[in-house]
């Protein structure tokens, strides 16, 4: 059970915004940070700050141990079979770009296909557009069903023996849909393609098991899962990573440097050129401890409950459209909506004046917006610290918005 007390672990939530207690419903963009994460970063800077993998001095050893300890935590968190399969990056975007630039350039050529879906985030679209342009490959999209889900039949139809890479989001940042990435990976493999999973909205909210999914690459960001910004992860199967070239070259990632030729360190360090985001990794490690203490299954259940509760409360409001699957079992804690006749920016401003933070816009998914026939939408996204009371406040805020605009417009 997740109780209201958990809010107290997030110092930022204890404040008034525009004269109202803050209700933070924008965790899909970035989550808030619990005390333990903030403390871990502070403790590192106050006691152990030093560069890693370099000096022989004590602080250097401590920093290295903590940094590599965080890597082990990530490996356990996603059930990687080896810690060598965990590469620290700047976030999901960098992770996907690394796959496109390293694996993609080496393995995709003219006439090949890259398959993604119509619901992807820009960071899982543009790296593939660029790769397709550079290599002469074709980028193909799997359309979505009207209920905001993916049909495996359509996936089957789209992936062919020419497909080299399939890249799909695990959980949609707009529709909240949980996609059958395990089944899609199986189809991809049957055609000899590799499977990339954009796990940005999955890792924070549900138990991820990369071995069970049998995906080849898995990307996620620390800042959406109680960790700091600037740190993320690229998981890759060891056999694939070993054959891949780094995309960034410089310090930290080399084994031997000659005048005209150099060799790389072993995995995972060959992909981590330059001084890494040490405090970020340590903060992410603390975030993982925090999430595991609560239990990912509990978090998943809590959010599903909040999403169902929100959908129920919001459907009582006339003229409110909710996007994505109607069945709460098919979705995570993300509810995207529009209020008839009121632009989502205007909705978000009214909510903000009532202390409620939601996102409004295209959510970095312009092709999806077009597919939904909306130029913009508003989104409430829930996390461990949200409560039914927060949802009630949202519903009240939406009623205020509706009333306010019906007064001025009509």
């Amino acid at each position: 059970m997740i109780t209201k007390d958990i809010k107290k672990r997030f110092p930022i939530l204890d404040q008034q915004v525009n004269g109202h207690p803050l209700v933070y419903l924008d965790s899909g963009a970035t989550s808030q940070k619990p005390d333990v994460v903030i403390e871990a970063i502070k403790r590192y800077y106050e006691n152990d700050n030093s560069n890693v993998h370099r000096g022989v001095h004590t602080l250097g050893n401590r920093a290295t141990d903590e940094y590599e300890g965080a890597r082990q935590k990530v490996a356990d968190f996603i059930n990687a079979s080896s810690v060598q399969e965990v590469i620290f990056t700047r976030g999901t975007t960098t992770s996907i770009n690394t796959v496109a630039q390293s694996y993609g350039r080496a393995n995709v050529s003219e006439g090949d296909e890259i398959v993604i879906t119509m619901m992807e985030h820009h960071s899982n679209i543009i790296p593939w557009q660029q790769l397709a342009k550079e290599t002469g490959a074709t980028l193909k999209y799997v359309d979505l069903e009207d209920d905001g889900t993916l049909s495996l039949d359509k996936v089957e139809e789209t992936i062919t023996d020419k497909t080299k890479i399939v890249s799909v989001m695990y959980v949609s940042n707009v529709l909240g849909t949980k996609n059958p990435v395990k089944e899609i990976a199986e189809i991809a493999h049957r055609h000899g393609a590799v499977m990339v999973v954009d796990g940005a909205q999955a890792a924070p909210h549900l138990k991820v098991d990369v071995q069970d999914l049998d995906c080849d690459f898995f990307a996620f960001s620390g800042h959406k899962m109680c960790g700091p910004t600037g740190i993320g992860v690229l998981y890759g199967k060891k056999a694939l990573l070993e054959d891949m070239e780094p995309v960034e070259f410089g310090g930290e990632m080399i084994d031997f440097v000659g005048l005209y030729e150099s060799t790389w360190k072993e995995l995972p360090w060959k992909f981590e050129g330059g001084t890494p985001i040490i405090a970020g990794a340590i903060g992410l490690g603390a975030a993982i401890d925090f999430l595991q203490e609560i239990g990912l299954d509990n978090i998943d259940r809590h959010e599903k409950h909040l999403a169902a509760y929100a959908m129920e409360k919001m459907s009582e409001i006339d003229g409110l459209t909710i996007y994505g699957p109607a069945d709460p079992d098919l979705r995570a804690g993300i509810v995207t909506f529009n209020l008839d006749g009121v632009h989502p920016h205007d909705v978000a401003t009214v909510l903000d004046m009532n202390g409620i933070a939601v996102r409004a816009g295209h959510h970095c998914a312009q092709p999806l917006m077009k597919r939904l026939g909306a130029t913009a939408t508003a989104r409430a996204s829930f996390y461990v610290y949200n409560t039914e009371e927060d949802v009630d406040r949202l519903a009240d805020g939406l009623r205020i918005a509706k009333e306010y605009f019906s007064d001025v417009i009509h």
């Binding site: 525009n18 004269g19 109202h20 632009h343 989502p344 920016h345 205007d346 401003t349 009214v350 903000d352 004046m353 009532n354 409004a360 816009g361 295209h362 312009q366 917006m369 130029t375 913009a376 205020i400 306010y404 001025v408 417009i409």
Partner: protein, 147 residues
Amino acid sequence: MSSINLDQLYRRVIMDHYKNPRNKGEIADGGLTIDMNNPTCGDRIHLTMQVEDGIVQDAKFDGEGCSISMASASMMTQTIKGKSVEDAVRMSKAFSDMMLGKELDEDLDLGDIEALSGVSQFPARIKCATLAWKAMEKGVDSDVNPN
């Protein structure tokens, strides 16, 4: 409660322009065409203008966006029609200043547009208000300095 603050943003004139936009549409041909969007939120404007002898003879807009961006576009087209390009650009600068919360020159009359001054208190919405003006500036600039 909070609607007191909201009223500073959503003035009646603004809502009137939102509901009944002036100069909505497109100038068929011979005009300047500018498409601009606000990539962070998806607001989009399609502005067409007819400029002759340094005077803005006509201006129309189409687009999608929130009340502030659409009302601002409506007011902008209404204001610049019949003005010299120079004056239109001067007003655009004055508008930007207004968004930064600066006092306006006494001799500059922005008319209805002054109703948008409240936007300066909502930093997240300033870009909505300035979109149409940016499009206009880009249009007249491309007319003066074609490349």
